[in-house]
Subunit: 206 residues, 2 copies
């Protein structure tokens, strides 16, 4: 385990999360364009200048809540045995989309409302796509390493795209489905696994 984080480190993490939550709540309710960075900063109890030390952009403030950024892939891959990407990727998908205890307890999780806002709001959609793009880039490197030097770069690219698209589509479809618990199509993880299975089945192994 990691040694006790210092007081300052904990404070920083708290501030970061406070800003993210304040931003998410306001964005989901009013739309990103009608919320000023000033308002988010005030709600989180920091100055405007400090807000921009934590996040490069007003919209980026919600990114930590998504939990599917490039950083998360590191953990997911570490927790999953390396081997054939075709079997490793579905496990990674589960790891990313099924909220673990810690993450959920700490509120580091998307909701339907936040996802809807991320997809429908033009400014947030840019963040959404950037996060997915970063995932694809990260995954491309991982797959390339698993496959070895003999792999066709184009195949690698297709596989990485299929995986990140599967996650994206799974979450988008789920966010649009009716709000009964997990009805009409299943959980995000299940949707994403299905999407990956269908998209990747035509990508030949080598």
């Amino acid at each position: 385990m990691e040694s006790a984080p210092s007081l300052t480190a904990r404070r920083k993490a708290d501030t970061r999360l406070a800003i993210a939550r304040a931003a998410a709540a306001r964005f989901a309710e009013h739309g990103a364009s009608r919320v000023t960075a000033e308002a988010i900063a005030a709600a989180a109890g920091v100055s405007l200048r400090t807000f921009y030390r934590y996040f490069p952009t007003k919209e980026d403030a919600v990114a930590p809540l998504l939990g599917i950024g490039a950083a998360s892939w590191q953990d997911a891959l570490a927790a999953s045995p390396p081997g054939d990407p075709r079997t490793a990727i579905p496990e990674i998908i589960d790891h990313l989309l099924i909220p673990a205890g810690d993450a959920e307890r700490e509120g580091l999780r998307w909701t339907r409302g936040l996802l809807r806002a991320m997809i429908e709001d033009p400014a947030l959609r840019a963040v959404w796509h950037r996060v997915n793009h970063d995932s694809e880039t990260r995954l491309r490197a991982i797959v390339a390493e698993l496959e070895g030097e003999t792999a066709d770069p184009f195949q690698v690219r297709l596989l990485a795209a299929a995986a990140t698209d599967a996650i994206r589509i799974g979450l988008e479809h789920w966010s649009e489905s009716d709000a009964d618990p997990d009805g009409s199509g299943g959980t995000p993880a299940a949707l994403a696994r299905r999407a990956f299975a269908e998209l990747s089945s035509g990508v030949s192994e080598r």
Copy 2:
């Protein structure tokens, strides 16, 4: 055919194209963040205020040159016989990615340099993803109509995603490949067709 466009209409089209070209040249050379809207406007011979009447955003100024936006899909679909999406989509891909005479003559075409800038520059990448997202949305409606009411919405979604991803990946891969004429992998259209074939082969028909 369309009746003779009025003088004003022609002037507007010229201005629009002049702005797009001025923006593309500067973005590709210096990066979007180091080019002011003011500079683009001046280079195109219009005021800053007029610039923002043509484009909602500084970065959006290059979008007309991409030729794969939602508007282009209308033409492509009109030129292709409706029927099974699986056979119609590759034709649409060709129509979008193989420069027609008119478009090329008018300079309405991407180059490797512009594409590279679109993908590598953070601000332009947002536009790139937005354009692709709009394509996917448009295509989703088209496929849904072709398939009829019995189609599974999730399948429709997968098919549309496979198609737009195929185009995106084809162009991205081509822009990164070495600059010999069309060496090392083929034309963007060929790459995109191959990508679509592999990604869509696992998406069952119904």
